[in-house]
Subunit: 339 residues, 2 copies
């Protein structure tokens, strides 16, 4: 008995314990478990049985250290309390789990610095990352993508695989909806200046408005939180518009609350359209007309694209860009223009 401890105390079993139990080398155990075809079936079965008996669980740290693969994928969101990300996160989580990966979820607090440092941090502890609504510059993002596999969501940078949500087309639908209700003075309540989706939505909107000969003015920017809705509502009222298209549902819902406080009726005096169809959009008062899209699916697609990058085996031309459809869901917050 030269072995250090015949009956290991309580320390989790390692491949060495299995090797000792089976009378083979540790490397054989490793192969039996990760490349079964490299090991004789009889040896393999003995090893697998021993592993099961010992309740062996591979140490992911050690595995990552020697193989370079961590089996984890980072998911960066700007604000974990924004309901928009719930479904997205659930989508990524489900898809990652199905593929045997672990999700590392990080809230970057809407800060480009936190985002950048998180990426650096994750560089060695994740195999790839999904970055949602990045606040970084195109250059920074491109540089980061060169260092590790990456897929963006809601952010289009040439050269970086992305999942985009086709809000521009839905924005046009929303505009037509409002025009058909007789509105001619409309406001766009902008999101953060660093948000690419806000910028793009505005350019689509102003272009479409020009074509249709209606006036759309841009107000804001507003932080994507319900609290900002109060300022947004006041700005809208002051500007004299009869309808608003908000950057997202949080702002829209905040506006609803503020307008109610001020005694301004929705939709009789003012129509509001949100974006994202988040949790709550269907039960606020009045229920919010909003642009909906399959967010959970977007999360799943993003992960699929990332995993395709990580395991380029099955081929099948890696898509580098995927656009999720969007449609306008009309509820109670939009109605005929006053007067």
């Amino acid at each position: 008995m030269v072995t250090t401890q015949p009956a290991a105390v309580d320390r989790p079993p390692t491949i060495h314990d299995i090797a000792a139990l089976c009378g083979v080398a540790a490397s054989t155990v490793s192969r039996a478990l990760s490349t079964p075809e490299r090991v004789n079936i009889r040896t393999r079965q003995r090893i697998q049985a021993a592993a099961a008996q010992l309740h062996y669980i591979p140490n992911s740290q050690a595995k990552a250290l020697s193989s370079g693969r961590t089996g984890a994928v980072g998911v960066l969101v700007p604000d974990i309390t924004n309901p928009f990300y719930f479904d997205l996160i659930r989508g990524t989580q489900l898809q990652l789990k199905a593929a045997g990966y672990t999700q590392l979820l990080v809230d970057t607090e809407e800060s480009d610095e936190v985002e950048a440092s998180t990426m650096e941090q994750l560089r060695k502890s994740a195999d790839g990352i999904v970055v949602t609504a990045s606040r970084l510059s195109d250059e920074a993002l491109l540089a980061a993508a060169a260092k590790m596999p990456m897929v963006t969501v809601n952010r289009d940078v040439p050269g970086v695989p992305a999942v985009l949500i086709d809000t521009p087309s839905a924005t046009t639908q929303a505009l037509d909806h409002l025009i058909s209700l007789g509105h001619t003075r409309i406001a766009y309540m902008a999101g953060p200046v660093t948000s690419q989706s806000s910028t793009r939505r505005w350019s689509t909107l102003s272009e479409a408005a020009e074509e249709r000969g209606v006036e759309v003015r841009r107000l804001g920017p507003f932080a994507p939180k319900t609290q900002s809705g109060a300022a947004a509502a006041d700005a809208a009222v002051h500007s004299g518009v009869t309808a608003c298209i908000a950057f997202n549902d949080l702002i829209a819902i905040g506006m609803l609350q503020r307008l109610r406080e001020r005694g301004i009726r929705v939709p009789e005096d003012m129509s509001i359209v949100g974006c994202d169809d988040i949790f709550g959009a269907d039960f606020c008062n009045p229920p919010l007309s909003t642009m909906a899209s399959p967010i959970e699916q977007a999360g799943r697609v993003a992960v699929s694209m990332l995993l395709a990058q990580l395991n380029p085996l099955a081929g099948g031309g890696t898509r580098s860009r995927s656009v999720m459809p969007t449609h306008l869901t009309v509820r109670g917050s939009t109605g005929a223009a006053p007067g």
Copy 2:
């Protein structure tokens, strides 16, 4: 020049690169960076300068493997799309980040099996875990707590440090509120049978009801989702009560929607009280009377308790149980009993 590669390609720098650059041993670099007082100040400064110059970032995998500490804490939630957990998650995230830890967030999908396997998985990749609303048995939880530092939230098991939310006392407040409005036939819409908080709330409630001489019946169980609210509403109407106390806000909001569909007015025909004061409770229609508590703070406290377990240095008697206060927030969903 015996060194393998004078100008390292692009591979992230390691302590060996720093050591080579400074002409010291790797172990000295390690010490200079983690136990600075063990290294001469001049050497240390040279090393630190070199580390900065090389943009050195320690490899957390390697660190974890050799030190046994991972610098990560797992946070298990049953359903990431339940808004109740948003604030909790944010609280844990903030507190962990402040202490230099990484948060590993996992959605256990309301399943005890996923919960158990996740714990096993995390055993080697996290230093401790925060378990919210566990679906496991007391024994399983106790056994798991013996294997790794753990703090539960909303789950009380003797021997396991816990953060509890004092909903029982708020439940009594809610009951008194309803009684003062003239209600005498009241229902409790129960949550999952495996939920300890639902069970405890019911026992407090039925006891208090008896003392006060009013009738409170238990309906359900209902899944903690808005979709379950429809069934809950129908059950409440059928049972002839005039007021309901729901297990949580999701169920309560679902009831609100269903009652509206059925043309039953809230609060004129039926009063509803929720629990948790989640996102949406203030802007649903009518705004929900609910039991509120500082959820984000609960997350922070849970992490503090866990970290105290991990670093028993500063002493200060580790609290093993912390109760968060709760109060009833009265909004528009409760009113005088009909008739």
